[in-house]
């Protein structure tokens, strides 16, 4: 092997480790935040608080993973917050109508699927930009949800269902188990199946993907369907947590999900993204909020600090990436 080859082998080695290192770095930042908070507040490391933290980050984390599929295809899904709010209404109606919980959940997820397929249709068949079609759905879905409920709130009268969010298994909150339930298959799907590869290929260059025999439209349908189904799943979880169906809930969660995804290293131009990235991104955001509450930071300062920390974290991450 010539020197060039040896050197470049080393570079590729570095690059191979890189994805892992990068995750480590973000994870490192998260752990750093935890360490600081553990020292600064007496209660941060309490079982109770860690449970709270895991519960608080869970829903955005799941949304962010769904959003990542879309962002990898160079798309965007602004509707996820509205889907969450809308599906709390759907599941509340179903459960109150006496439909068994498992069936209610299934139907709610199918409603999510329908919304995602509609997005796929709008993008592939009507030629609409993802930003526009999902913004339109965001607007309309909130309207439909409000219309169904006449602007009010539906109390879910099934205590087993609403108790779920507060439960723990093996000391870990049920909501966090749901993250694991979603993330593990999502990881396998994204990194170890051909459809995962196709998501990247479509995000990178749809024409080349198409000429290589990839069903580009199918891949787009798939990405948006996954995002919406994940959002519907979060709607189910939110309904168990707040015990009501209300179409205005989860406002702005789309931005939080997108932010988690981007903090987690995805590029809005597509073809870059992972499953662990958005998870870490979501828990970084949750930790900032949790920590600020525990530190009794004034809520206005809390916003200022959140903005500042987002900059600092992504900046360090960029540095690390460039310096690799």
């Amino acid at each position: 092997m010539s020197t060039v080859d040896a050197a470049s082998a080393k570079a590729s080695q570095a690059r191979r480790n890189y994805s892992f290192l990068f995750a480590l770095t973000l994870l490192g930042l998260l752990v750093l935040l935890w360490a600081v908070l553990a020292i600064a507040t007496p209660n941060f490391m309490s079982d109770k608080n860690i449970s709270n933290l895991l519960r608080q980050g869970s829903m955005i984390a799941i949304l962010a993973v769904g959003q990542t599929f879309v962002i990898i295809t160079a798309g965007i899904d602004l509707s996820v917050g509205a889907v969450v709010g809308f599906t709390t209404v759907i599941i509340a109606l179903l459960i109150n109508a006496g439909v068994p919980v498992w069936l209610s959940i299934l139907i709610t997820l199918l409603v999510g699927l329908g919304i995602g397929l509609f997005h796929g249709f709008g993008i592939t068949k009507m030629g609409l930009p993802p930003f526009i079609i999902t913004l339109a759905t965001l607007t309309s879905l909130r309207g439909i949800g409000l219309l169904i409920t006449n602007g009010s709130t539906i109390s879910i009268d099934n205590d087993d269902f609403t108790a779920f969010a507060t439960k723990d298994f093996l000391g870990i909150p049920s909501l966090f188990w749901m993250v694991i339930l979603v993330a593990v298959p999502a990881y396998i799907f994204l990194n170890h199946t051909r459809w995962g590869r196709y998501l990247f290929a479509v995000g990178s260059n749809p024409e080349s993907a198409r000429l290589s025999g990839v069903r580009v439209n199918g891949v787009i349908y798939l990405a948006y369907a996954l995002s919406s189904v994940f959002a519907a799943f979060v709607g189910v979880l939110l309904a168990t947590r707040i015990g009501i169906g209300n179409a205005t809930q989860a406002e702005g969660w789309e931005l939080q999900a997108i932010a988690s995804t981007v903090i987690g290293g995805s590029s809005l131009f597509g073809a870059v993204g992972s499953v662990h990235g958005p998870l870490i991104g979501a828990f970084i955001l949750a930790t900032i909020n949790n920590g600020a509450n525990l530190l009794n930071v004034n809520s206005f300062w809390q916003r200022i600090i959140t903005g500042g920390l987002i900059i600092v974290i992504v900046y360090f991450d960029q540095l690390r990436r460039r310096g690799r």
Binding site: I188, R194, R197, S204, N205, S212, G213
Partner: protein, 508 residues
């Protein structure tokens, strides 16, 4: 490296006034990759200096250093005897150093004129003088003999035409040192001839030209001197009169090639595909057939409609009339997947736009058509995925540290190999290669042609689309000429001379 003994130092010592630009121990590293090992070279005022070397040898890297596109990691550059930093493209432009890069570096959303004047707009009272610029750009294009509309939006042009726009942009007034990085890769002979006329004229005006190409005949036609890069190392400079093909190739690849156009006579088998009176966007009434063991060549000028025809055969573009028979039976090919399913593969002409997923790993690019096959149960077999990619990298000697490297970090020629490799990896009965050797070095070209032979032996048929006449001329068993979307002449051009084929293509 024991090969350095091949390099004989330049014969004639130079008077310093003759030298316009000099490199001293210029070096470029990408992280740990040494893309250019410390190189020293002097360019004479008004000479045409060719640079040759294999894919990935470091030619484009050298050019990027000279034009301020990337920073050097060591060494010195002297412009008219003075050390210059060349830290930004603007600085290079200010000195009068311009380049036509290997990949077209223009803004596809802007007009031709806007691209030609980008960064150097005509402004009066703070306002752009758009008409003046269009007029001036048209004058420049006309003067250079390029028949292109200055007001057109860039992306309405073919890649070749875009390359000419880039040339016009770099060669317009004020240029003292002009670098061409494989300028003819996307040009037809006719356009290449226009380009050569321009280059000779610039030389006569005292402009120094650096000319990079994989086409030896161009080097011998144009250059005064030639320098050879191998593996990032400057291995020698020769006066063109004092060297020949064989020496240059030996310097480049450290071995000799007996025969570039490898051709074996293989008996033809069944007819794979037959197009009957096929029409579509860009072509009409095309009838031809391809048999197993046969290379059918399609020669024509840029925009003649060959690529559009190929895309129709492949199901990417709809046909408007006519019929396709596959192994004797009429078939409908409505999309790419149907074509692939029948056993057709297409290596498209534009590696950037159609052929590659640039910001993804090489391995993924190579395996993209075969992931269905790599899937065991629900997941991809990682070992098989790696094995298949590594095999293509080895077979095609794709110069990369790893299948995990991004396609975008490859040199142009190596990118082209990935486009081909992906279909070799998949396999097919009929291979459509659209400009398969654009930007590919001599050694690799020979390998690719050998590979054609291997495919034919295995019973495949090949449709070879090329604007590089020697290639189709030497390789095709049946040669068709396309002109303005139609096949011209009823007989294959086998046995016709180069000149006759060219005349048909141009329509004189």
């Amino acid at each position: 490296m024991s090969a350095t003994h091949l390099a004989t130092p330049e014969a004639a010592p130079l008077a310093s006034g003759d030298i316009i630009l000099e490199l001293r121990d210029l070096e470029k590293r990408y992280g740990p990759v040494l893309a250019l090992k410390p190189a020293s070279l002097a360019f004479r005022r008004g000479e045409i200096h060719a640079i040759v070397g294999e894919n990935g040898a470091g030619k484009s890297t050298l050019i990027k250093l000279l034009t301020g596109v990337i920073p050097r990691t060591a060494g010195d550059i002297r412009w008219n005897g003075k050390s210059v930093s060349l830290a930004t493209p603007q600085e290079a432009i200010d000195h009068g150093i311009n380049a036509v890069h290997q990949e077209v570096m223009l803004c596809r959303h802007l007009s031709v004129a806007a691209n030609i004047f980008l960064g150097d707009e005509t402004v009066k009272f703070g306002l752009l003088q758009k008409r003046d610029m269009v007029r001036a750009a048209q004058a420049i294009l006309d003067d250079m003999g390029f028949q292109l509309p200055a007001a057109a939006q860039l992306d309405s042009l073919t890649i070749g035409q875009q390359q000419l726009v880039a040339t016009a942009r770099a060669a317009k007034r004020g240029t003292k040192f002009l670098i061409f990085d494989e300028p003819t890769a996307y040009l037809t002979r006719q356009e290449a001839a226009q380009l050569f006329t321009l280059i000779r004229r610039l030389k006569a005006e005292g402009v120094t030209i650096v000319y990079i190409s994989h086409r030896m005949e161009e080097i011998f036609e144009l250059a005064d001197r030639v320098s050879v890069l191998r593996d990032g190392q400057m291995v020698g400079t020769r006066d063109i009169a004092a060297t020949d093909d064989n020496e240059l190739v030996a310097l480049m690849i450290n071995r000799t090639i007996e025969q570039i156009y490898h051709k074996e006579q293989i008996p033809f088998g069944e007819t794979l595909i037959e197009a009957r009176h096929l029409s579509g966007k860009g072509f009409s009434d095309v009838s031809l057939s391809i048999r197993r063991g046969e290379i059918v060549g399609l020669y024509g000028l840029i925009g003649a409609g060959r690529s559009e025809f190929a895309l129709s055969l492949f199901g990417r573009n709809p046909k408007t009339s006519g019929e396709i028979l596959w192994k004797g039976k009429p078939v409908a090919i409505n999309n790419e997947r149907q074509a692939i399913g029948l056993g057709i593969a297409l290596a498209p002409e534009s590696r950037r736009d159609q052929g590659l997923n640039l910001n993804l790993p090489i391995g993924l690019n190579l395996n993209l058509p075969i992931y269905e096959r790599l899937t065991k149960g629900f997941v991809i077999s990682a070992g098989e995925e790696a094995r298949r990619a590594d095999k293509q990298i080895r077979d095609l000697s794709i110069k990369t540290p790893s299948r995990r490297s991004l396609a975008s970090s490859m040199s142009g020629g190596n990118q082209q190999k990935i486009v081909i490799g992906k279909w070799l990896n998949h396999g097919a009965d009929l291979f459509i290669f659209d400009e398969p050797t654009v930007g590919v070095d001599v050694g690799t070209k020979a390998e690719i042609y050998r590979l054609f032979a291997a495919l034919l032996k295995e019973g495949a048929g090949i449709l070879l689309i090329s604007s590089y006449l020697p290639e189709v001329y030497e390789l095709a068993d049946t040669l068709h000429v396309f002109r303005s979307g139609r096949l011209v002449g009823s007989n294959p051009f086998h046995g016709a001379s180069h000149e006759e084929v060219l005349a048909e293509a141009i329509g004189v």
